[in-house]
């Protein structure tokens, strides 16, 4: 191999290596940013029909925006009694939520859940709603979970 050809190959490998490093760093930074981001931003969830009277379901309303394309795989709530004595799992949907809202803009969402049979004595509760999501961004896919705490729930005795 002559000197000119050797110098040319060396320069080319230097340039390719530089571009590879830049690509690796950009992908790494993008991945970290995606991995650490929350699913929803500026999120607000509340129960719209407090106190829950007889035979009514618990109606939730949510507003928030998503940065990435995320599809929910599981959503459930846990209602903790305000005195800390007990809790109830809320997972029976009587009205479904929108599974895959558009990213980048605030989209209102709502759903309704059945009052669990063992909650019929009524009382004041704080609900934590948890969502499990599969999010995608560029070439990345990531499982994410987000919880919204402290939603006031008042259930009247049935």
């Amino acid at each position: 191999m002559d000197l000119k050809r050797y110098a040319l190959i060396k320069a080319a490998t230097n340039v390719i290596s530089g571009f590879s490093m830049v690509t690796l760093i950009c992908l790494g930074v993008a991945y970290l940013s995606f991995k650490n981001a929350f699913v929803f931003q500026d999120i607000k969830i509340e129960i719209t029909n407090n106190p829950i009277t007889q035979e009514k379901d618990i109606e939730f309303a949510m507003i928030g925006s998503k940065k990435f394309e995320c599809n929910s795989t599981q959503v459930y709530g846990v209602a903790y009694a305000e005195d800390g004595s007990h809790s109830h799992k809320l997972n029976a949907f009587t009205k479904q939520y929108i599974r895959n809202t558009r990213p980048g803009e605030e989209v209102p969402n709502s759903w309704a859940m059945e009052v669990p049979p063992d909650m019929r004595i009524g009382g004041r509760y704080r609900v934590s709603m948890t969502g499990e999501f599969v999010c995608t961004y560029l070439i990345f896919t990531q499982h994410k979970s987000q919880t919204f705490d402290n939603i006031l729930l008042i259930v009247e005795p049935r």
């Binding site: 060396k10 490998t13 230097n14 390719i16 290596s17 590879s20 490093m21 690509t23 690796l24 790494g28 991945y31 991995k35 070439i139 990345f140 896919t141 990531q142």
Partner: protein, 102 residues
């Protein structure tokens, strides 16, 4: 060139080759493995992170020992030059003394 200096020269060549080939090789191998679902991006990310950190630590210590060797070599060369300079000054004075004596 001493054996140690030849070794350092070879090591520099190896670092140069490593720096030119490794990023591209890692990028291509990772992309192929991710495309064929052998590994996910998270695994590739952590393997890359560990590789990057290991390379940085190894290079740092290699650089420290190499610089120490170079500083010792430079000091020795500088000391020898000072001795040569002193010898020349002494020889010049002796020649001048001989000239004046004759």
């Amino acid at each position: 060139m001493t054996d140690r200096e030849q070794l350092i020269s070879k090591q520099v060549e190896r670092w140069d080759l490593f720096a030119r080939l490794m990023p591209t090789a890692f990028l291509l191998i990772s992309l192929v493995l991710i495309l064929f679902d052998v590994i996910d991006f998270e695994t590739a990310f952590y393997v890359g992170l560990v590789g990057f950190a290991t390379t940085a630590v190894v290079w740092w210590w290699w650089a420290i020992f190499t610089i120490r060797h170079l500083v010792i070599t430079l000091n020795r060369a500088s000391k020898n030059l000072i001795e040569v300079n002193q010898d020349i000054v002494r020889a010049t004075k002796e020649i001048e003394a001989l000239k004046n004596g004759s």
